[in-house]
């Protein structure tokens, strides 16, 4: 800092034809860089460097037990293309993401609209729906695991109303539905709060004008609410899709990828390959595939925003 303070003084004594090095612009630049430096250092240390290492690992066969680390070139990538288990893993990931994103966004929006009314008790319900967001994920999942057992709470309740409930975590379809629902209720509160904030930002006079024009409640929602909160819809959908592609703990606790491989999503498969089967190089290759998928989906959404997001057109 003393360096910065002294420089201009010395510059003053120089012949006038030489422009001072530490111009206002340069000083501002340096200050800007210094301000972002901590954040930048964090990104480099915890994102860029690990990402580079993952690429490096993917070119190697790394056996942690033997302590060997051999360069294999593109072999892991070839193995990925030939892997018969990759297709089912991608399918499970797609099913999970599609199910979660659709259910999460529609439920979150529905709850937000409902709780945006000026009625008694909305604060209680807002708190109720938001509280799972702050619960530890694994604890939340373990409790659901008990509820979803064949002789667990959910089937006990269904039994009371005369329904013979399925063995939730042991059927291919019901296991997938179960992990989606567990994740849905865990995080729907977060999107709900984001939607609530957006809803409250919609100017009341627009609704009034629409009402005077004779628009029905649905038309007001469709033509006024949705366009005005579309930036939030974009944000929540990107967050939810990215989050859904990274689902791990629920699968590890509830199903361990089963029954069969019906809930072996990509992240769980990469965990199996890297940490259980000790194929760290191959695991790194799968994680790069996941990275490319997340990147592609995010870029796609970002590109498409101009078509439907208000303020962006």
């Amino acid at each position: 800092m003393t360096l910065l303070a002294e420089k201009p003084a010395s510059v003053l004594r120089r012949p006038p034809e030489r422009a001072p090095y530490w111009t206002m612009r340069r000083r501002d630049q340096l200050a800007g860089w210094l301000m972002v430096a901590p954040q930048l250092a964090g990104i480099v240390a915890f994102v860029i460097v690990p990402l580079g290492l993952v690429v490096w690992y993917s070119l190697h066969e790394w056996n942690v037990l033997a302590g060997t680390f051999d360069y294999v070139g593109g072999e892991n990538y070839q193995a990925l293309l030939d892997d018969p288990r990759l297709g089912p893993a991608l399918r499970a990931t797609g099913l999970f993401s599609a199910g979660l994103v659709v259910l999460n966004l529609s439920l979150a929006l529905f709850l937000a609209v409902l709780l945006n009314q000026k009625l008694r008790g909305t604060v209680v319900f807002r708190t109720l729906f938001f509280s799972p967001v702050v619960v530890t994920l694994v604890a939340w999942t373990i409790v659901w695991g008990f509820l979803l057992q064949d002789n667990g709470g959910i089937n006990g309740f269904l039994d009371l109303v005369g329904i013979d409930g399925p063995n939730w975590l042991r059927g291919d379809t019901t296991a997938m539905i179960s992990v989606i629902v567990v994740q849905l209720f865990k995080n729907v509160g977060l999107n709900m709060v984001l939607f609530l904030a957006a809803l409250q930002g919609v100017p009341a006079e627009l609704y009034e004008a629409a009402r005077i024009d004779g628009a029905s409640a649905w038309a007001r929602f469709r033509r006024v609410t949705v366009p005005l909160i579309s930036p939030t819809i974009l944000l929540t959908s990107i967050l939810t899709i990215v989050g859904s592609l990274q689902v791990f703990a629920q699968i590890a606790v509830l199903t361990q990828g089963g029954p069969g491989t019906s809930t072996t999503v990509l992240v769980y498969y990469l965990y199996q390959q890297a940490f259980q089967f000790h194929h760290f190089g191959y695991g790194a290759t799968i994680s790069l595939l996941l990275f490319v998928i997340v990147l592609a989906l995010t870029v796609l959404q970002w590109r498409m925003r101009k078509r439907w997001v208000f303020h962006e057109a």
Binding site: W33, A41, G67, N151, G152, N167, T264, F275
Partner: protein, 417 residues
Amino acid sequence: MKLRTLTAAGVAAALLALAGCGGGSENSGADGPIDLRMTIWSANAKHAALFDQIAAAYKKDHPEIGKITFEAIPIDNYTTTLTTQIGGGNVPDLAWILESTAPDFVTSGALAPIDKDADLLPSATANWEQDGQLYAYPFSTSPLGVFVNTDLVTAAGRPTPAQQIAAGTWNWEQAAATGAAVQAKTGKGGIVVGDFDFKGWDTLNSIWAGWGARPWSEDGKSCGFDSPEMVDAMTFVHKLVFTDKAMPGPGVTKDFYAGDAAMVLTQISRAALLEKAKFKWDLVPLPKGQAGEYSVVGQAGIGVLKRGEHVDAAKQFLAYFTNQENSAKLAQFFPPPRKSQLTTETLAKANPLLKPAQLQSVVIDGIERGDIKTSHTGYAELQQTVRAALDPLWKPDADVKAVLSGVCAKINPLLSK
């Protein structure tokens, strides 16, 4: 441009400083005390107390040793956590190793060779040897037995297994009938296979070994799931769950130790869990299978990690930890692999909860006769592949033979590797 270079240099310097901090704090000095760390999967307070007692006695005679830590890692993810530690450079000096992953650890060269005591039973060391060299001490050689809640069996109006043994009728048909009677009459669970939960399929070897079935051939090259013995055994298990209703079904948990099941097939080292049991219990050998009497032994080894910081100190401590005297102490939890200690007298002193007859029939006969549990190189991948392929079996209308052929189709490529 200059500024950009400056910033980049600053960031690089900061990173280096960070990395430097991490690297500098490691205890690598040869002069300071040597700290040893052993990973184990038991968090049992009594086990820990005994280990600490042995470690304290060792430290008295070995001033160069600082701390000896026994780090408990939950059994569910034990091997995964251990290998992740090794992969991350946080290598423990000693580690318990499950019998199923013995070939992976022994053949990979991860373990340092150790000395073999002549007192060790050859059947106990076989799993841990390569080219005549021992790579882990067969620390616990624990036969599987059946713990019986005799209160529940009697309440269901069935003769107890002990009575059936006396009458010569203790076989799987009778065990199934008892399990079914308990489930039907008391609403509690019948027969529970310890650690199975319709995922840990390898624990079913406590049943299928009675049919003479094996998951794969002894050389590990060919699949045994589609063998007639295995089909018969698994048909029996399927019937046990879905037709006889003698075993709690998938997704149903019944805790034997809490009094919720009639029988559990597990290692005798679990007897410690029954100390405060509020019901009458007994320990009996596995029922007679279709292929006659049989026994299955679970095993754990302790190895010295070659890439640990203090290999020689770890070897010395392991030799002390498992010597004649300490092995006798450990025998109360972990049946010793030593010929000289496999007597009812030694075992009875260490296992006050078990009667001499139980020790003779289950432990001593079991270890001498028993098959060691399944193992193979690349075990984790095989384990998961079989688990996934076997899942369709756990439905009431499953075609046992077709499912088992499917298992072979999936694991043949792995076995032939």
